[in-house]
Amino acid sequence: MKKDTFKVAGKFLKSRLIVGTGKYKNFSETANAVKASGADMVTVAVRRVNILDKKKPILTDYLNPKKIIFLPNTAGCYSSEEALRTLRLAREMGGWKLVKLEVLGDKKTLFPNMIETIKSTKVLVKEGFKVMVYCTDDPLLTKKLEDCGASAVMPLASPIGSGLGLQNKINISLIIKQSKVPVIVDAGIGTASDATIAMELGCDGVLINSAIANAKKPILMAKAFKDAVISGRSSFLAGRMEKNYFAIPSSPSKGLI
């Protein structure tokens, strides 16, 4: 059997689970959760250095960007200008060209502003960035992003941090069927089984933050997600049985006493 590989923006990843590094109790918990998840790519945000408390630990004291792929995001950006500024700074910081673009449109739902997102994708691709794009689950718009040169499309399962799970399986399936770039479900996954469902549909990967960080035992949940993603992928590759409206016995009727 052909080896199942996951390649995004020219990088081969061992794990199909990408994890966020926000919302943890402390950096030690972040690092332990990342380790338990088995992820080889993590999202990070770009923010001002705390100049008043320089002794405060920083993320890179706990996660080494030489050992794990950092995917800088544009969380909190509501315009193309803000997102571009953030990612250009991120590139200068570490030389990363691989980035996660998210341009938000509404503070209550955190839905992406797709007009600004498409505009930003075009500029970033022109500047040589490899862009993984957080987007709505609209197949027409994910196709547009792909045509603009996105390295991966990342439709939401449901609103960021909501934990509502995969709300529109049909749209996600349509996106998977038509996409030539990896499809990674981002945002809204609430628990491990949600990730399995996404992977069983045929997603290339899932991106999880809140569902792990907000769990009562984040390290255990990170491990649960690792297993869930592996299971979901195996199940997708194995191919599920057909659904039938009526029962079909599992034991042979021949030889029945």
């Binding site: 919302k23 972040t30 001002r48 200068e92 933050n209």
Partner: protein, 67 residues
């Protein structure tokens, strides 16, 4: 002395300080930050050359946890 705005706060620095000098004073590793000076990103190789002047606006950013 020069008065600059550093990450939104007014800060007084020694005259003719470069970005490199400021990072040293702040005990910040240049590997872990990126800097925007009056709206333009400064490449790390230019930190020693870029001298800070009165009313300059400096943004020093780093990676933090995020989803």
């Amino acid at each position: 002395m020069a008065k600059i705005q550093l990450n939104g706060r007014k800060v007084v620095i020694k005259p003719d300080s470069s970005i490199f000098d400021l990072l040293k004073k702040l005990k910040l590793s240049q590997k872990k930050v990126a800097i925007e000076h009056n709206g333009s990103i400064i490449q790390k190789i230019n930190y020693k050359k870029k001298i800070l002047k009165n009313n300059d606006k400096l943004e020093v950013v780093t990676f933090i946890g995020g989803g």
